[in-house]
Symmetry: C2
Subunit: 295 residues, 2 copies
């Protein structure tokens, strides 16, 4: 296992620990809710967003305990969005990360509430003084996360996705949709390191540019996995997009141009990191990883 | 119309205006989402929680524009919870405030997303510098609202409510459930005035005690309305609790003891306001109002 793989695994392990400590135990009268929360957030996932936060925070000499709480809050928002997107009224998915989705394992009402609770708790964690001693830093994180998650971010992106149905979308429409649905949270995960580390405007601009390209590369790679991947390795049903007639980067560009585009974006992302020198090595490796990963 | 009624109406009118300005216009590709957001948050409701925030803030000489933004954020969370609670998988309600509920007017997916967006936007509004110049005040509001809305607040209360089904609950269980489901947000709405106004610990303690009793009185009155109210005046179907065999304060205490209890709690709430003298007049009137209202 190389340095990058070790760093990814170490980050996933630490974030799992912080999530475990932040999520309430599954006892008490409302234990079923807590059980569903823990099921949704623990025990799986590549933890790409937390890795981005930890790797970017490390460039600005941030205390790791602070970065980990922020990373966990961002991951809670990611997990909430998966729970709600999987619901019967939305994408109606039964399998996620190789396990039954929350509404299958529990029921629909519990899944809706577990998602609501995860989203809410993310903001509670960010607002807590344990996350950073400076209230201005905490409130900036809240604002950035809320913006990325809201009507012009993840929620709006999911709405666009549902409205598109099996309609053909122009490449520009697909790009906007994916930027909202997945790109903005990836960008916040990366910029969060700069916010906690009180990085200069210039440095934050570069992080944003990196994350923008990375997010698109990540999504194109996701679309490619749905076409080329094997369900067991990917951890969810593959071939779904084509079956649903869903417009994706692959349906718009074809497999080989989509792959070229992802690789180009990955190189472009890396180009924004020059100012950070050696400190940005993990972020560079991540940009390589997202386009070659098998799940 | 007396002073209190005028103040209630004026507050509702102002909050409507602020919500209108904060919610995105319903154009653009994701217009359907924005339309649902606006449908859920505008054009109705007594705006009791915003009134609490405005009336408590006024005791501490807070700038009204700040109090109004906080009131609007708290009302967004209230509206989100109604949208999600009305969903088919939850309470399955078709009418609210005399109109079709969001999932009936739009569809289920749009209702889930509109709720998610309202919840998220509440935090975005609180985090915005326009809400208060002091970041410490803003982040304290975020933390308090998230706590009241989360797994040990509204979401947990709704889970308990669903888990109870038609089972008989002890009075202590009903009290805990309602404290979580509706009481904590009412308490935050009231305490928010103290937070924005940087009130002393002592004053905030009294606001909390007032809001605690008020919240219970409010819920008992709600249960009474479901038994005694007329659907047209109440704005939603009545007699639902009994039909569902739901445990309420009225099923546990009977109508006349429930009414006595609500009135006692209302008087007790008023008792906590002595330290504020004449400044607390609107809050006193509100405590009278919640137990005599017809909707």
């Amino acid at each position: 296992m190389d340095t990058f793989q070790r760093a990814m695994r170490s980050c996933a392990h630490k974030v799992e620990g912080v999530l475990d400590s932040l999520l309430p135990p599954d006892d008490g009268p409302e234990g079923r809710l807590m059980e569903a929360l823990r099921y949704a957030a623990l025990g799986g996932g590549k933890r790409v967003r937390p890795f981005l936060t930890l790797a970017s925070a490390a460039m600005f000499n941030v205390e790791e305990s602070h970065a980990l709480r922020v990373a966990a809050a961002i991951e809670m928002v990611h997990c909430y969005s998966l729970v709600h997107d999987d619901l019967p009224a939305m994408d109606d998915d039964a399998v996620r990360r190789g396990r039954a989705t929350v509404h299958i394992q529990f029921d629909e009402a519990t899944a809706i509430l577990a998602g609501d609770a995860l989203l809410t708790q993310a903001f509670e964690v960010l607002a807590d003084a344990a996350t950073h001693p400076d209230a201005a830093v905490r409130v900036e994180l809240v604002g950035a996360l809320a913006k990325a998650a809201g009507a012009f971010g993840m929620v709006g992106g999911q709405m666009l996705d549902l409205l598109a149905g099996d309609r053909d979308l122009a490449l520009s429409e697909i790009t906007r949709l994916q930027r909202m649905k997945t790109g903005m949270l990836i960008a916040v995960a990366c910029e969060a390191g700069g916010i906690i580390g009180k990085a200069t405007e210039g440095a934050r601009h570069m992080l944003h540019a990196y994350a923008h390209d990375l997010g698109l590369a990540f999504q194109i790679a996701d679309d490619l996995l749905d076409v080329e991947g094997d369900a067991e390795t990917v951890g969810k049903k593959t071939g779904k997009d084509a079956q649903r007639g869903k417009a994706t980067f692959v349906s718009a560009l074809g497999v080989s141009r989509a792959r070229e585009q992802a690789e180009m974006l990955s190189r472009q992302a890396v180009g924004h990191l020059d100012v950070f020198g050696e400190k940005a090595e993990l972020l560079r490796k991540l940009a390589d990883y997202v386009v070659v990963r098998g799940s």
